[in-house]
Assembly symmetry: C2
Homo-oligomer: 303 residues x 2
DNA sequence: CAAATAGTGTCTTTTAGACATTATAAG
DNA sequence: CTTATAATGTCTAAAAGACACTATTTG
């Protein structure tokens, strides 16, 4: 039914170039991982950005990232970068392309591995680190526009990390090399441009990566228990609700939220304790339950 | 709070190695695209597979794919491969990672595999092509396990394509170089192993890629109008229902399905005509509406 | 006629969302 | 006391799902 022989016979071409005996037969790419690390700080969804010290985009903010090493898996590289940037240990890295019903429980995914401390390189002040804490880590998408890096052909496998609120990199500072910034400002929510320092567009295609990561997070907390990744090990229903409110940018009814979240099997398990850290009546403390898929889901309010 | 200097100062490292003046400073990768092309044939979800003519995995079935060219975007490469393999024109390719309102699509981990096909091997008869037709195309996930291809380091950016039923590659044939095969058989649905020819595991990590693609499709038709990508330009409600039944592997109530699908704004628009190609009372013909996000969603029946 | 598919309606259960009320802390 | 937050309950509207019934074709 089609032109003979031409159609899916590109395979010939493939094998010829795939031959290890002719390494110059295929175009070489650099492969990196970039990280969209999100957290909730002061009731706002924030991302970790680092300031670039060299061209291109010198002085601009960018997402943290680095090269994938010779014998390193993509998930391993992302976990390594996450440790290097934040001290966070990846708690879950799934091969699965997340889907509601398919998201298996994933706990330990990528191994911690050797942080491999770079020698003398850095003055490196204010690390936003919180060693010993865990974060959710998953692959986001891959970006490979030939022009995305002016220096060479780089394909970046972006990852999304969700972490509990971490200590500020350095309170009061202003010209540091790393910081948490509200995603609204980073993504230039129209009217925000020109006002704030971080309203300058991110380097490379990192604004697109971040936007994709934010949308992934926003949609995924609907159908999974991932919102708990933004919370400390023990948290209250109110704290979890404030996570949803910050990530979605909406206000939720505390009573309906409480009823729904406590009624979803496997979402939360009471830890026994209570706290008054939010003021008011003591609230029950919970831990994340084993469920990864929420049924029924938490639905974002309509437009 | 963390080890000084080591943390996010990988930027130095990054920039040093990124320098175009030292191309040997970063490890070179081959980058490919692999395609999980899905369609619905004879009430079963099927995938396009090609037979490998050379080692490794000689004689095994694999997903179609090929190298990303020097100055080619990832989406462009995937669209090119799709045309080469099937004659299908990519109708939609989104950079966006996940499902809009809901569900995150995928994140994937690692896996290897380049499809390789033998040159002389193929008489290349039966292309499952259907020139001039369109298909949905989107990025799925990226697989980069260092061992996924025994020959060299290959990172593959897998894509998912959804197409209407196409003419069989070659009816009656049995040892062709390309064919549609039910995903159940390809993924070795337990009891299916050993019975059928395609019960032999796919080459490389293609079973993982295909499984991820199938799960992406299954979840995405819940919250988007993507199921129409499996249908011809004009289709009936019954035909659309059979798509859902095939993809999900369930039986749906025709009456509730009809009420729901016609009641979802923007999902379907009547084209005016009717058809009796399914037998019985003439059915109204519809086209896909403009809506991409379904509200309310079509929910998969529970376990 | 029977058989098959299309399309509409009706009823019950479940869920979402609006909102009242009570409980227990801090200041 | 007031104020803030937590937790439970009640009501209504919408949606899901089970299922009866009618409509229009082919054989």
């Amino acid at each position: 039914m089609t032109d003979e022989g031409t159609v899916y016979r590109q395979a010939d071409d493939y094998d010829r170039r795939m031959s290890p005996y002719d390494p110059s037969a295929f175009p070489p790419f650099a492969v990196t991982v970039d990280l969209a690390v999100l957290t909730v700080r002061r009731h706002a969804l924030c991302a970790l950005v680092v300031r670039r010290g060299e061209p291109p985009f010198q002085g601009r903010w960018a997402l943290p990232g680095g090269f994938v090493r010779e014998d390193e898996d993509l998930a391993t590289a992302a976990a390594r970068e996450l440790v290097e940037e934040t001290g966070l240990i990846a708690l879950s890295t799934r091969t699965a392309p997340s889907a509601p019903a398919a998201h298996p429980a994933a706990t330990a995914g990528a191994a911690p591995h050797p942080p491999a401390a770079p020698p003398a390189t850095a003055p490196a002040q204010d690390p936003p680190a919180a060693l010993g804490k865990g974060a959710h880590l998953e692959q986001l998408a891959t970006y490979g526009d030939p022009a995305r890096d002016p220096r060479m052909r780089v394909v970046s496998v972006a990852h999304l990390a969700l972490a509990p609120d971490l200590p500020a990199p350095r309170a009061g500072g202003d010209a540091h090399s790393a910081r948490w910034a509200p995603v609204e400002a980073l993504l230039g929510h129209e009217d925000a441009f020109g006002r704030d320092e971080e309203a300058v567009p991110l380097a490379f295609d990192h604004a697109q990566i971040l936007a994709d990561g934010v949308e992934r997070a926003r949609s995924k907390i609907e159908y999974s228990s991932l919102a708990t990744a933004f919370c400390p090990p023990e948290f209250t229903v109110g704290e979890l609700r404030r996570v949803y409110e910050a990530v979605w940018g909406v206000v939720l009814d505390p009573r309906n939220f409480h009823r729904k979240v406590t009624g979803t099997p496997g979402f939360l398990v009471p830890s026994g304790g209570t706290t008054t850290r939010q003021g008011g009546r003591p609230a029950q403390l919970f831990r994340a339950g084993g469920a990864t898929v929420l049924n029924p889901p938490m639905l974002r309010p309509e437009v």
